[in-house]
């Protein structure tokens, strides 16, 4: 069997699905090709923890048999993917990116993994992540026992966190799509720094059963893909009520048909989000707005509600994270963590006062109300995903890009309110690193954001760029 052309590994899920269904390529040869890339390139990017070759080939052979028999499970059938290593997988180590959990093995698959298996997708690897999803307060890219995640665009720079492996692996064509998680920024940031499309769903749309808990009231799981359309295809497979997660909701994801006619979208540009961004980030956002203007009504200078989003999210993550990992912290085993900050951060977090934690939870109601009142006027609000390109590997984060940032805290705000967000690549900045913008919407506007992102990507080619591997 001749090896597949490299182009195949950069096709979207939608395109791969067409080739699989038409038998132009087989699930087994596709899985084999992706497995080879994941094994060969994955470690160089610090993107992989465990390659699940045996399981992958078994699932790929099953998909091959079913497709040959005319049974098609849907657009993910036979498509290889990876998951952030905080999702339980039966009989395969689930390390949470942290040395103390290197040998942890669960007996069952997380609900998301089970749903993807039912959809016929092929699990080829457990992908690297920042230890404990960053809950102990890391301040450096070298924050996993597998080493720093490297963006394939420039390996001296970080792939973002805490879904570092999903970002790097998806961007480098080592998986066709991946599943990441976000408590406050951990999908959209690596999507931006790695140059892929990353979708944070509305809280409750995707079951978290079987996922490492960092912060019960903020954790979300979502897809990281080449395209917005692919994010919708993955969401359609994983969203919906799960009796094993009380916060999950009976709201399946139904992507808009590709040929659906609709009114013009209305998007607002959040005031002050790009003023202190790097010049390339600002310029690329302006270009993106021009493109959006061809099919959207664009409203500039939208005032964002002023609340202490940062302190609230920090307090909640600290309190819930310290509780979730209390045994690890109090046993002293946090000293085995990679980043020096993570070895003491849990003790500081353990000192959050109960009244401050409850205060933060109480603030979420007025924040949610104010944000919903604003977002109800728009299909989405637009802002740069990050004010800078990726951080260099080596120095602590607070030593670089001084003077950039500021503006409304869109990421913490959206996470506190449980709102969805979609990060889309929109060009390049310093050192050949990708830039991105994010579309944020009111809760349960997930389908609208995906439709908007798909329309944007129909008019641009940034999502088709390939890193220089």
């Amino acid at each position: 069997m001749a090896p597949l052309a490299e182009d195949v590994f950069f096709l979207s899920v939608a395109e791969l699905s067409r080739k699989l269904r038409s038998k132009e390529i087989s699930p087994v040869e596709l899985a084999d090709g992706f497995l080879d890339r994941l094994e060969r390139i994955g470690p160089k990017l610090g993107a992989v923890v465990t390659v699940t070759r045996e399981r992958a080939l078994a699932e790929a052979k099953a998909a091959e048999r079913e497709l040959a028999a005319g049974k098609w499970r849907g657009p993910l059938h036979g498509v290889p993917y990876g998951v952030k290593d905080l999702l339980a997988t039966a009989g395969i180590p689930t390390t949470w990116g942290a040395e103390p959990y290197r040998n942890q093995v669960f007996a069952e698959d997380a609900t998301v993994v089970a749903r993807l298996r039912e959809a016929g997708a092929v699990l080829i690897g457990k992908l690297a992540m920042v230890e404990l999803a960053g809950g102990m307060g890391y301040n450096n890219a070298d924050a996993s026992f597998t080493g720093p995640g490297r963006t394939p665009w420039n390996k001296d720079f970080w792939s973002g966190g805490s879904s570092s492996g999903p970002g790097a692996a998806t961007a480098a064509g080592l998986v066709a799509f991946s599943i990441g998680s976000e408590t406050s920024g951990s999908i959209v940031t690596p999507a931006a720094f790695s140059g892929v499309s990353g979708f944070r769903p509305t809280y409750g749309r995707v079951s978290r059963h079987g996922a490492m808990a960092l912060c019960w009231t903020l954790d979300k799981l979502g897809p990281m893909c080449r395209t917005a359309e692919d994010c919708g295809l993955v969401m359609a497979a994983i969203a919906g009520k799960d009796p094993l997660d009380a916060t999950s909701l009976p709201r399946p994801f139904r992507p808009a048909p590709a040929n659906a006619k609709r009114r013009r979208f209305k998007v607002g540009v959040i005031k002050g989000t790009s003023e202190k961004a790097q010049p390339e980030v600002r310029k690329n956002l302006e270009e993106s707005l021009k493109v959006l203007g061809t099919f959207c009504d664009v409203v500039p200078d939208v005032e964002f509600p002023d609340f202490p989003y940062g302190p609230a999210v920090g307090t909640i993550v600290a309190a819930e994270g310290a509780s979730a990992f209390r045994d690890l912290i109090e046993s002293g085993r946090v000293k085995e963590l990679r980043v020096p900050n993570d070895r003491w951060g849990g003790y500081a977090a353990s000192l959050v006062l109960a009244v401050d934690y409850i205060q933060a939870l109480r603030l979420r109601a007025p924040m949610k109300k104010a944000l919903d009142a604003l977002y109800a006027k728009f299909d989405a609000l637009v802002s740069p995903t990050r004010a800078t390109v990726s951080y260099p590997i080596g120095p602590d984060f607070d030593k670089v890009y001084l003077g950039f940032g500021g503006g409304p805290a869109v990421i913490p705000a959206g996470n506190l309110a449980g709102q969805p967000a979609l990060s889309l690549p929109n060009g390049f900045g310093e050192k050949g690193l990708p830039t991105a913008f994010q579309l944020t919407g009111r809760a349960f506007s997930d389908e609208t954001l995906v439709a908007l992102g798909t329309a944007y990507q129909a008019r641009t080619e940034w999502h088709e760029k390939r890193p220089p591997l």
């Binding site: 920042v130 999803a133 960053g134 809950g135 102990m136 307060g137 890391y138 301040n139 966190g161 805490s162 976000e182 408590t183 406050s184 920024g185 951990s186 959209v188 940031t189 960092l214 009231t217 009796p243 009380a246 609340f307 202490p308 940062g310 302190p311 609230a312 999210v313 920090g314 307090t315 993550v317 600290a318 912290i329 002293g332 946090v334 900050n341 070895r343 003491w344 003790y347 500081a348 977090a349 353990s350 000192l351 006062l353 401050d356 205060q359 933060a360 939870l361 109480r362 603030l363 979420r364 109601a365 007025p366 949610k368 984060f397 607070d398 670089v400 890009y401 940032g405 990421i411 913490p412």
Partner: protein, 119 residues
């Protein structure tokens, strides 16, 4: 704001915490009042934060709790870092208190009597 001239330098503060870590309980109670300085809480997607000059007396007191409870796992330098982080969170808590809430404003978390799975 407390008088910043009463605040020890970060290095002096860390040194005293190190001494306190090596001493019996409550040795750290002698830590002086200090001036608070801006910082930010760690986040799963961190952003650069300014370094504080010295933690507040409340932060020092809470750090003493950390020393008593978990001091065997911590160095003096780490206790100094904890003091700074606690100070940042306390500052954040003060910011949160500035938002007006009424007695009827409940935490945005709902308790369900039902067991997972509807049992």
């Amino acid at each position: 704001m407390p008088d910043p001239t009463l605040s020890p330098s970060r290095r002096a503060f860390a040194k005293r915490l190190a001494l306190a870590a090596a001493a019996p309980a409550f040795a750290g109670a002698a830590l002086s009042q200090t001036a608070p300085a801006p910082t930010a809480a760690p986040s799963p997607a961190p952003t650069p934060v300014p370094t504080p000059e010295a933690p507040s007396s409340v932060a020092e007191a809470l750090t003493e709790v950390a020393r008593i409870r978990w001091g065997r796992h911590l160095t003096g330098e780490q206790l100094g870092e904890i003091a700074k982080a606690v100070d940042g969170r306390l500052r954040g808590a003060e910011t949160m208190k500035k938002v007006t809430l009424t007695n009827a404003d409940e935490p945005d978390v709902v308790f369900f009597a039902e067991l997972p799975g509807g049992r």
